[in-house]
């Protein structure tokens, strides 16, 4: 629901979140390349990605309040907001030294599982209904499958493969979100019920 035509389109909000996810991807990748020790040499740098994750969770609340037009849509966005804030807060607690267990990384795996499931559950159209539907399915399955990376990290914190896979997943998510249009064809498919297509 766009109020009085003054709110940005939903697709624009997806692009802004894609930018946040792209920033997260670069931060994760840089941390993976240099290692946790070097990354943590400047204390403020340790707070960068957990803070960004938490901020994305906070920003998801206005999206939930202003952009959802059904109960299941609202529940999906609300659950994203909660799990993003939970995983961001848990990682902030770890870098601050208030939390000590390596298993707090499991909150990230849980966040991805919940987010992926929410994507799949609240998309009620098939893959080829329109681009947005395709992307919801693709995002959901990407998040669910990639949740294995933080899961591995919780048990093997120094696994470079898990850290690299985790970082690369954010680039995939960013690309998928940047591809979103409110109504557009996907691979030549576009339902007659999906509105007027954009490029």
């Amino acid at each position: 629901m766009i109020v009085a035509g003054i709110e940005p389109q939903a697709e624009m909000v997806h692009w802004w979140f894609a930018t946040g996810i792209l920033i997260l991807g670069l931060l994760f990748l840089a941390e993976t390349i240099v290692g946790k020790e070097v990354w943590g040499l400047r204390p403020w740098r340790r707070y960068l990605w957990p803070g960004t994750l938490f901020l994305l969770g906070v920003l998801m609340w206005p999206v939930m309040a202003l952009y959802t037009n059904s109960m299941i849509h609202m529940v999906a966005h609300g659950s994203w907001a909660q799990v993003l804030m939970l995983s961001g807060a848990a990682e902030l607690g770890v870098v601050r030294g208030k939390l000590h267990s390596q298993y707090w990384r499991l909150t990230l795996a849980a966040a991805m599982l919940v987010s992926g499931t929410a994507f799949l559950v609240h998309e009620q159209n098939g893959w080829y209904f329109a681009r947005a539907a395709f992307l919801h399915h693709a995002l959901g399955w990407t998040l669910i499958l990639a949740s294995v990376f933080p899961l591995v990290q919780a048990f093997r914190p120094r696994s470079v493969l898990a850290a690299s896979g985790f970082a690369m997943m954010f680039f995939v998510i960013a690309v998928l979100l940047y591809c979103d249009r409110d109504s557009a064809a996907i691979l030549g498919h576009f339902s007659a019920f999906a509105g007027v297509p954009h490029r």
């Binding site: 940005p8 624009m12 894609a18 670069l26 931060l27 840089a30 390349i33 040499l41």
Partner: protein, 95 residues
């Protein structure tokens, strides 16, 4: 030591330092430019995603929403504000 010789020595050391930079340092320095290139490539492939190129009759939000420019900006900000500090710390740790 004359200023000329000192300057030359400094230049040679700088060249040596750059030549011996580790793959990790180079990768960190490349992350920003690669992101910028990705944004530019996207703008070239899909110029209609940049409403600034055809701004007539576009509303405020459509003029703000320029995804390829967001990608370029992220790359520039990473290169300017994050990469130098990371590289400095990495080179310090590698020495």
């Amino acid at each position: 030591m004359s200023a000329d010789i000192a300057h030359r020595l400094h230049g040679e050391r700088e060249k040596e330092r750059i030549a011996t930079r580790s793959a990790r340092v180079r990768t960190i320095l490349a992350l920003g430019p690669v992101t910028v290139l990705a944004g530019i490539a996207w703008a070239l492939v899909q110029p209609w995603r940049l409403t600034l190129l055809h701004p007539t009759a576009q509303g405020f939000w459509w003029l703000i929403a320029e995804p390829p420019i967001y990608v370029v900006l992220v790359g520039v900000l990473f290169r300017l504000f994050l990469a130098p500090g990371i590289v400095e710390d990495l080179e310090g740790a590698e020495r």
